[in-house]
Amino acid sequence: MTKEPVAVVGIGQTKHTAARRDVSIAGLVREAAVRALDDAELTWADIDAVVIGKAPDFFEGVMMPELYLADALGAVGKPMLRVHTAGSVGGSTALVASGLVASRVHRTVLTLAFEKQSESNAMWGLSLPIPFQQPLLAGAGGFFAPHVRAYMRRTGAPDGIGALVAYKDRRNALRNPYAHLHEHDLTLEKVRSSPMLWDPIRYSETCPSSDGACAMVLTDRAGADRAPYPPAWMHGGAMRSEPTLFAGKDCVSPRAGRDCAADVYRQAGITDPRREIDAVEMYVPFSWYEPMWLENLGFADEGEGWKLTESGVTGIDGELPVNPSGGVLSTNPIGASGMLRFAEAALQVRGRAGEHQIDGARKALGHAYGGGSQFFSMWVVADTPPAN
């Protein structure tokens, strides 16, 4: 039994910003969807199904908003699925949509993820007090800071690595017209001297809160043949989950992430990711997660990730560019952030990433994670169809 190959033929995103007060939630998602359709030179009538994702409903204060968004997304009369897998949701949503094409249930699917954080308060949305459960209280940063500290202790990484990542990603974002943060006057020294929020994470090493949406059109082989621009072909995709907290959990390098990467590489026939992958869009909401995930994803040996970052390998002109788009550190509409990673990976292999294009990128990894580092979703896309 063979699966239908899946191609990305349309990508659209909004200009991400702190507050899009000029549009409703419906207006925001429609903007990204229309851009994806335009990129594919398709109309709403060409779409067989819609798969939408976002992080918790409390972030906007709307319960199951896909019901209200059906009209804006041209879903009336069509199947519509709503995915929610915490921070990894943007990636998971794309994978669920790809499954509809791969199983030949539908031929062309619109997938979209969004967050309009200005409608509510994400910190509050994450911190609702529940009896008998450990509260996160200080939002995501308070939860992840101890894991960063654990990484530093375990590997002996020097203090300044996180600042290098933040500075790199924010400089990369200047080449991406859709990125939220465009800090033209940022210097490495400014990152290093920014206020400490959750030791060891400084203000300039954290992601912003963004309003934004990202959409993709996925289609089958016949659909790819008709596409006006080169498609990105999916060579592998996987999700893995593990429990939030338990005695055996490795919070620095969760096994679910390692297993997920191994599955995707196996599907894509990749044996040496460091050499075979040309660009990486990695979910790095706090700067230290770049070296941590470099190890988790098999690009560096255990304890060696920070050396790769320090040596400049992950720079936009390096051997293994990580987050040429500016990444989550520059743009974070939470529910859409994972799909942005998947979409930016696809843009790279389509040769349509504009000023942040990596020359000759033929194979790219999109990566997302969520919850207490427990949900992972990834895909590998390439500029040629998979064998068979």
Binding site: F59, L67, P79, V83, Q133, R240, A256
Partner: protein, 358 residues
């Protein structure tokens, strides 16, 4: 298309209030029940998918706690929809169709008791123009019911208040044989009509009970299904469709999304002998019967349906499970299962299940 079947089904005893157990504690026995039925452990399942709602739980990422209960170690391939579990089953079904998985565990759960469900559900509505008015779910269903009673073709559909009461009486009488049901037994329709209106034209018995509950199924493909279950309930087709959200642009007396989903699922290709319809309000059963072309020969909701137990996020999955269970025990050969979501039947899913000829 690859052969995929529901091979096990379990559900909780649905109750008005389950304050003494957490969502996870409510779900766990059901998970164990279906896994025991097929002799598998969580780690031996290829794909897991769940459905639930943060708004019912009152906290973000509420599904993460359930995942801890599943025991996702070593890590599992897993996904979640913020929808009724029927749609989680749909996602799992497509995953099995690709051949990437041979087995799937699907579960869903919801506790309505901590809040006022009618008010909570208003937060599902258009947040700018409708939700601020707080129109509650029963009032919206009453609007739909009144439209049905007032429709020019009401005589053809037989939609009058007595017909609504008859649906309630039949459902709750049938539920006497369902140990999981929350509301069982009913006086005859004539007596029900003496009750006062809750929201005109709906009386209390025209509305679903508010309750807490959980459900789970196991899916399996091909020979694996035959190995795990004596008589698998094969999914011959499944489809779901959405309608506009705005009530002003919909004919509330019809359900075109149900009809289209049924057509795509192959429901009209052969007659069914049983139908499990997710019709939380009596009037909605009349609408669904017409769209699905169900004649008198079809047993509708022998479980009692959503009028006997309607745990949010699980009630749709339970319809698929009840239909499958009837096939498992040889009480049906070809069954329709339907799930709905959103105000006034906005979103509808239809599956066609069949058992092998014994």
């Amino acid at each position: 298309m690859r052969e995929v079947a529901i091979v096990a089904f379990g559900q909780s005893h649905h109750r008005r209030d389950s304050a003494e157990v957490s969502e996870v504690e409510m779900l766990m026995p059901v998970l164990h029940q279906v896994l025991d039925a097929v002799g598998l452990r969580a780690g031996e399942i290829d794909f897991t998918c769940s459905g639930s709602s943060d708004y019912l739980a009152g906290r973000a990422f509420s599904f993460t706690m359930a995942l801890d209960g599943v025991g996702a170690w070593p890590p599992i391939s897993e996904s979640h929809v913020e929808m009724d579990g029927a749609w989680a089953l749909y996602e799992a079904w497509t995953r099995l169709l690709t051949g990437e998985a041979d087995t799937a565990l699907v579960y869903s759960y919801g506790k309505s008791s901590p809040g006022d469900l009618r008010e909570v559900l208003t937060r599902q509505l258009d947040p700018y123009y409708v939700a601020p008015l707080w129109p509650d779910s029963v009032s919206l269903a009453a609007l739909q019911a009144q439209a049905l009673l007032d429709a020019e073709d009401a005589e053809d559909t037989g939609a009058d208040e007595r017909a609504l009461a008859a649906v309630a009486a039949r459902s709750r009488t049938a539920a006497e044989d369902n140990p999981h049901a929350q509301v069982t037994g009913s006086p005859p329709p004539e007596t029900l009509l003496d009750d006062p209106y809750l929201v005109r034209p709906l009386r209390r018995h025209d509305c679903p009970p508010v309750g807490d509950g959980a459900a789970a199924v196991v899916l399996a493909a091909g020979d694996t299904a035959r190995r795990l279950c004596r008589r698998p309930a094969w999914i011959r087709g499944m489809d779901h469709r959405t309608e506009a959200h705005s009530l002003g642009v919909r004919d509330l007396t019809r359900s075109p999304s149900t009809r289209l989903a049924a057509e795509r699922a192959g429901a009209f290709e052969a007659p069914a002998d049983l139908a499990e319809l997710h019709a939380p309000f009596t009037s909605q059963e009349l609408i669904l019967r017409r769209e699905l072309g169900l004649g008198e020969g079809v047993r509708v909701n022998p479980s009692g349906g959503a009028l006997a137990a309607n745990p949010m996020m699980a009630a749709g999955l339970i319809r698929l499970g009840e239909a499958a269970a009837a096939i498992h025990r040889g009480a049906a050969d070809r069954a329709l299962a339907h799930a709905t979501s959103g105000p006034c039947l906005q979103q509808n899913l239809v599956a066609v299940l069949e058992g092998d000829v014994l």
